[in-house]
Amino acid sequence: MISKKIVLHFPHRMVDQPIVYKLVKDYDLKFNILKAYVTQREEGLMVLELSGKKENYSEGIKYLESCGVKIQPLSQDIIRNEAKCTDCGVCVPICPSGALAVDPLTRKVHFYDNKCIACELCIKACPTRAMEVHF
């Protein structure tokens, strides 16, 4: 079994295609939509947690790529600007997935991007605006 959080960028011509349905039906993959922006005549963006058997997962990804969908791991999209972060920690209770946590010894704030679900709650809540979205 494999489970990954990925960001799909799909061109506007595909906005009306049932891409996720295909992933379930043809590749037996489970999905959890974390975020989606789909607008007619514009690019579509979807953040998915996708899981299934390893071979099915890679076949599913191949299918997406063959359709012209660009795929990125989620962790690349929410970035902490280290120069701006002051390690205050006011973001920590705002984060719903535990991706931001204070180290009990150093009292520095860690950002575990593998836990991030890109909900973006931290973006504007950060007083120095150190958390950035790069979709």
């Binding site: 006011v90 705002i94 009292r107």
Partner: protein, 400 residues
């Protein structure tokens, strides 16, 4: 036990024993307060948090022909500054924001840029746009000024913060069923989080609770440079309730501080945006505490567990000026990441960076050990616990 003069002699000779406010805790625990007081000359403290009543004044130099800004208007990067002085003196407040900022019209406002950010940009050495208007006089004929300015070309650039360094602060929570946006951060509904704002056991005034060593004239680390305590800060409130150890259980004393902005650093003066609230400046301050006697040492060795504060509802009680606490917690509990409030485990967040406070205490310690920073004798004390000095609410009276 020792005087500031004696401590300065030791600093000059490179023989001073200086510990941070964290290190003195360990020493006092292992050897006892008496022994610690005998061994240690100075303890350094630090704090790094948003402090809205901050600002800076400038003298920009006279233009040719001359302009008198007093009575006119003045903006740095579109942020209005106060120029109701003589010709070219200006005061910029940290919470000022551009006239065309949408504020909270689209709620919650983002407050991306304001006085605090201008101050940080100036300190970073960046050029800033100055636009000013005046009415013109015989001796100051010019009516308009538009120029780039750089901190290095200004005659004076002085950070002058009228209230910094709060001695303790509330823990903010939200009892309502709607999210609220406050100066204490985003507060989720139904006790969704609890935000505090203090360096606790590193915070300057918590380590000298009766202002026995910190007074007017005390030399401090300010924004990465050197500053001085200018006065008690606004809202200074020394007569509040205190624990047996002397430490205020609610917000108490405050400091007004002043220092040359030109030698400060942008990493210690950070423009800050509070969602739905406004802009401010996060300020780094470190204060040395001379260990004059055993009592000063006992106070300086207070630890997070000994320092308590109140949990306050910011949905109703705070905005409506209704006194009352939902409970008392100490900073050791707050630092575990959750506290129990009304039977619920609530996640905590600090607005004040403890790791940066630690860096400030370390930096000040290194200045003292290198002999670069001598201590000053206060020229006057801050109003103390028994002074009768208080912080009053506004009494409104009808204008007839």
């Amino acid at each position: 036990m020792r005087t500031i003069k004696q401590i300065n002699e030791k600093i000059k000779k490179g023989e001073v024993v200086c510990l941070t406010a964290e290190e003195i805790i360990d020493l006092a625990e292992s050897k006892g307060v008496k022994k610690a007081a005998e061994e240690v000359d100075v303890v350094t403290t630090g704090t790094f948090g948003p402090m809205c009543s901050s600002g800076a004044y400038f003298n920009i130099g006279h233009s040719k022909p001359r302009i008198k800004l007093g009575g006119g208007t003045c903006k740095f990067n579109d942020v209005p500054a106060y120029c109701g002085f003589a010709a070219v003196d200006i005061y910029l407040g940290a919470a000022a924001m551009p006239d065309d900022d949408p504020h909270n019209k689209v709620f919650p406002g983002e407050f991306k840029y304001g006085g605090g950010h201008v101050i940080q940009e100036l300190v970073a050495g960046r050029d800033v746009r100055l636009e000013a208007t005046a009415y013109g006089t015989d001796c100051y004929p010019r009516k308009k000024l538009e120029t780039l300015v750089n901190i290095k070309d200004l005659n004076e650039a002085v950070l002058f913060n009228i209230r910094n360094c709060y001695q303790n602060y509330n823990v903010a929570v939200n009892l309502s069923d709607k999210i609220i946006y406050t100066y204490m951060g985003v507060l989720k509904p139904n006790l969704g989080n609890a935000n505090y704002c203090s360096a606790g056991q590193l915070s300057p005034l918590l380590k000298d609770p009766y202002y026995k060593t910190i007074g007017i004239g005390t030399k401090v680390f300010l924004g990465g440079g050197i500053g001085y305590v200018a006065w008690q800060g606004t809202q200074h409130n020394p007569g509040i309730k205190r624990k047996d150890n002397g430490i205020p259980q609610v917000p108490g004393g405050t400091l007004a501080v002043i220092g040359d902005l030109k030698q400060m650093k942008p990493e210690w003066l950070v423009g800050t945006s509070m969602l739905g609230y406004g802009v401010t400046l996060t300020v780094g301050i470190g204060v040395p505490i001379p260990i004059l006697n055993e009592e000063v040492c006992r106070h300086a060795a207070a630890k997070d567990k000994d320092i308590t504060t109140q949990i306050v509802d910011y949905s109703q009680a705070y905005p409506q000026m209704v006194a009352g606490s939902l409970g008392e917690v100490n900073y050791a509990q707050l630092k575990t990441g959750k506290v129990n409030i009304q039977g619920k485990n609530v996640l905590t967040g600090n607005l004040s960076s403890y790791s940066r406070a630690r860096d400030i205490a370390d930096e000040l310690k290194s200045w003292i050990k290198k002999g670069d920073f001598l201590l000053t004798e206060p020229v006057a004390p801050l109003p103390g616990a028994d002074s009768g000095y208080t912080f009053k609410a506004l009494k409104e009276r009808p204008i007839i």
